[in-house]
Amino acid sequence: MALTPSPVLRLIGAAFTHPGGSGVTGLDLTVEAGTALALIGPNGAGKSTLLRGVLGLVPLTAGTMELGSVEVRGADGASGPPVPKHTRNGMIGFLPQSSELDPDFPISLEQVVMQGRYRRLGLLRWPGRADRVAVRRALETVGLTSLAKRRFGELSGGQRQRGLLARALAGEPRLLLLDEPFNGLDQTNRDALVDTLRALKLQGVAVVVSTHDLELAKEVCDLVALVNGTQLAFGPVDEVLTLGNVQECFDGVEVELDEHTLVVPGHEGH
């Protein structure tokens, strides 16, 4: 995928607000193709809200959002979340935090990944050669090719998550959003996911990852945004991820800083 000169995602003075009133505000950030942004903040900070807002599931109530060449302006007090055209173009892939999926559903991993192609196919067309190739490629990227025919419910938790990631990738998105993907992953799956994200960056995909894991942010991401109800800081990882900033973001909880990692008590490795 060729790198485009304009950023894939840009938020200018943006706020996403749920109909009930809660949300996240003051968002000013830019993500280019082939780069990864870490969204860091405590629970309830609004990281999920931000991701869902980019998807169009939470109304943009202030500011502007630019997705590629599509611009969305915030409207005050929008009553229901309309899904803007940008999500319909299939340029965004999304891996949600947790999915309550019926473990007995009679569907194979391959078929689940194929669901990621539906946006491109639209209503009437059925999967063809190109789609099968994309599915295969997505499975290779996450390393699950050998399990393609297995029933999805039979896979382990970590494998299911990778399967859903493959589904997000099968649509060949330009922007990939991941909501706390590293929660509860064991070391093997964690490493596999890190490798996958690195590979995606090389392919030119823009990635936004929300996480508690500061070490991960340093490992994989180029940019960081600290969020707690509102955006507190944004910039390159090395500049922004300082002890002081993180302490402010996590409301002054005692933070340890050791040689290579920033560790927030209660959030290690989560």
């Binding site: 949600p96 559903f105 569907i107 539906y118 946006r119 196919l121 209503l123 009437l124």
Partner: protein
């Protein structure tokens, strides 16, 4: 018209239509005087009779369509809503019948189904627990229907005819409209199939990708309603419900492969419809036992379900002992 028969159980060899001996093909239409009937007679010969042939065609079309729609009913857990819709069309049928005769059946049912769908959707959006809401809507509408029917003549037989159907007295002019309506239902479902399956499997994923839950639910509920409306006036509300629920459940027992569910459900339904019709015919004509057609077919469906269930249980135990693992205590997925 034959549907005004006074008994629920219609005699299989004489419909109250002007069937002649030539139609029936037997010399002496007395009870049990047909003589020994071979299997072939019951399974094939019976359908030479025009009313049997009509019943078979209608049942086969319904079986295939309800089978396909029924798989989605199963995957989405819509069994109770389907039950609600079959009860809800009852007043429509009763009022349609009272106002417009047989021609009023389908429009009446359609209006009732639409009203029920609107009320259920509105209640759902108002946040009422859907299963209590379904129960209330269906019995309210059914009560209205009972009151309407109770004011007319032939109360008892009318009620039962609407519930248990008149499979053997389907008027010839109803066949084509029924097939057309079923066609619309199955096309609607097939066109949206990918999105329906995604929504069935991963509700939030479907939303995240931009699919409208409202539209998909409307399409599926409409397809169910169409099948109910089309079929209820001919085969009765009980039989329609069985057609929507049982084949899907059987398909889940038979296979774990997504796309095989549909032919499995449709095939099972068609086979059981055929066997049920043949069985009732044999019972009535050869055994002198007067069985209502609709209920016999439902009994065949449920018996078939039991057989597949047993087969599945045996197969699972064989697999388990082969693999040397203790039999897992299956817990309900829903």
């Amino acid at each position: 018209m034959a549907w005004r028969s006074n008994s629920t159980s219609t005699r299989w060899w004489y419909q109250g239509t002007k069937a002649t001996d030539a139609d029936i093909g037997i010399c002496d239409p007395g009870v049990g005087e047909w003589g020994p009937m071979t299997l072939v007679d019951a399974l094939f010969g019976a359908f030479a009779l025009p009313f049997m042939a009509r019943a078979l065609i209608v049942m086969l079309v319904l079986a295939v369509v309800a089978g396909v729609v029924g798989v989605l009913v199963n995957l989405r857990g819509l069994e109770f809503i389907s039950d609600g819709l079959t009860h809800a069309v009852f007043p429509g049928l009763a009022i349609g019948l009272a106002v417009g005769g047989t021609a009023g059946l389908v429009p009446g049912a359609a209006v009732a189904a639409l009203a029920a769908a609107v009320v259920l959707t509105w209640l759902d959006r108002a946040g009422i627990t859907s299963d209590a809401a379904i129960a209330i809507v269906l019995t309210a509408m059914f009560s209205v229907g009972v009151i309407v029917v109770s004011r007319g003549d032939e109360y008892a037989s009318e009620l039962e005819a609407l519930l248990f159907g008149r499979v053997l007295t389907i008027p010839p002019e109803s066949v084509v409209p029924l097939i057309l309506v079923c066609l619309v239902a199955v096309v609607a479902v097939v066109v949206t199939m990918k999105q329906q399956l995604l929504r069935a499997f991963d509700r939030s994923g479907s939303r995240a990708v931009g699919d409208s839950a409202l539209v998909l639910d409307l399409v599926l509920n409409a397809a169910v309603a169409l099948v109910v409306v089309a079929a209820a006036s001919t085969v009765g509300t009980l039989l329609v419900l069985a057609l929507l629920i049982v084949p899907g459940a059987v398909a889940r027992l038979m296979t774990e492969r997504l796309w095989w569910l549909f032919p499995a459900a449709a095939g099972f339904a068609a086979l059981m419809a055929w066997l049920g019709l043949a069985l009732g015919f044999a019972g009535s004509v050869a055994g002198g036992v007067d069985l209502p057609a609709g209920s016999t077919i439902v009994a065949a469906f449920v018996a078939g379900y039991g057989i597949v269930l047993l087969g599945r249980w045996i197969a699972d135990r064989r697999l388990a002992t082969k693999a040397g693992v203790p039999q897992p205590a299956g817990t309900a997925a829903r």
